[in-house]
Amino acid sequence: MRAGAKDIAPILVGIVPFGLVAGAAVIQAGLGMPEAIGMSLLVNAGASQIVATTLFGSGAPLWLALVTALIVNARMFIYSTSIAPVLSEAPGWLRPILGHMLVDQNYASTMTKGRFRDDVDVVPYYIGAWFALAGVWQFSTIAGALVGPLIPSSWGLEFAVPLVFLAMLAPALKDSVAMSVCIVTAVASALLVPLLPLQSGLVVAILVGMLYGAWRDRPGTEAETP
């Protein structure tokens, strides 16, 4: 478990502003500390928490806040399908818990680092990474509920979130196929995220990148890729 926590440590700095924003959003929507803590523990998915809370606070109908947040989280079904073979050594009773632990950072760290390490078992690695993430997430959500509304939005703290994902992305661009999947997804997300309703652009852009990558790797093309 220690190896997973250690690999995720540099990323934790980027969780703090994310948690601050999520905690502050709950207070700004007119709710309290129990809601901020409960939401982070039970939902455990930052982007969807901020989306759902903001919509709720702006007076949108409950179903709309819910559907939008669920669409934002639909990418986790793809993550889960993709990481399932990597976590296949886990016994049946543990798997529902491993599912709850599946977040962007843990998925990316396990898929781009943990599974390639010969010196550690991947299941404890994944669990350790989540405990580190969830501890910082909970702590920073509470801090955000307390002081978040005082932080000026001009500081742009939430920009730390894509920066951390960027730092995780760079080492994964190992070959020309990965590079072109990145470019295609970049164009798709830049165009689709502002255009598609209910925040569905994110998951559609991931699907576009995924399909393009599968097409690049189609049988009979191995010779082309260096």
């Binding site: 039970l42 759902a52 830049a190 189609r218």
Partner: protein
């Protein structure tokens, strides 16, 4: 129903829905077929997902459904990308990205 109870309904339903989406494939692995072509489709998901999480918030700021192009963010994310590719260091990437964002925001507001 009070706003607080409504919000708890939101939390619980969102939690259950999210848990089902993120858990079912892990739980069912080995009980349902996992054909080789599926691997080909899933191979590039990490790169696609990280890219889609990075790009929109590196180009736009948004409030609700209104997206505005943010030149300071584009510059900051571009330089941070160079640092990320060069150093593969998370903290250096964060420091350069946030630093450039603040300088660029200050510079643009001084200009305009």
């Amino acid at each position: 129903m009070s706003a607080i109870s409504q919000f708890w309904v939101l939390i619980v339903v969102l939690a259950i829905g999210t848990w089902l989406m993120r858990s079912l494939p892990i739980m069912l692995h080995g009980h349902v077929p996992h054909p080789p072509w599926l691997e080909r489709f899933l191979k590039h998901v990490p790169v696609a997902a990280l890219t889609a999480l990075v790009i929109p918030s590196s180009i736009y700021v948004h409030s609700g459904a209104t997206y505005t192009i943010a030149p300071a963010r584009i510059l900051a994310a571009g330089l941070a990308m160079l640092v990320a590719l060069r150093t593969k260091n998370v903290l250096a990437t964060l420091a350069v990205g946030m630093g450039v964002l603040w300088v660029a925001q200050w510079g643009l507001s001084a200009l305009g």
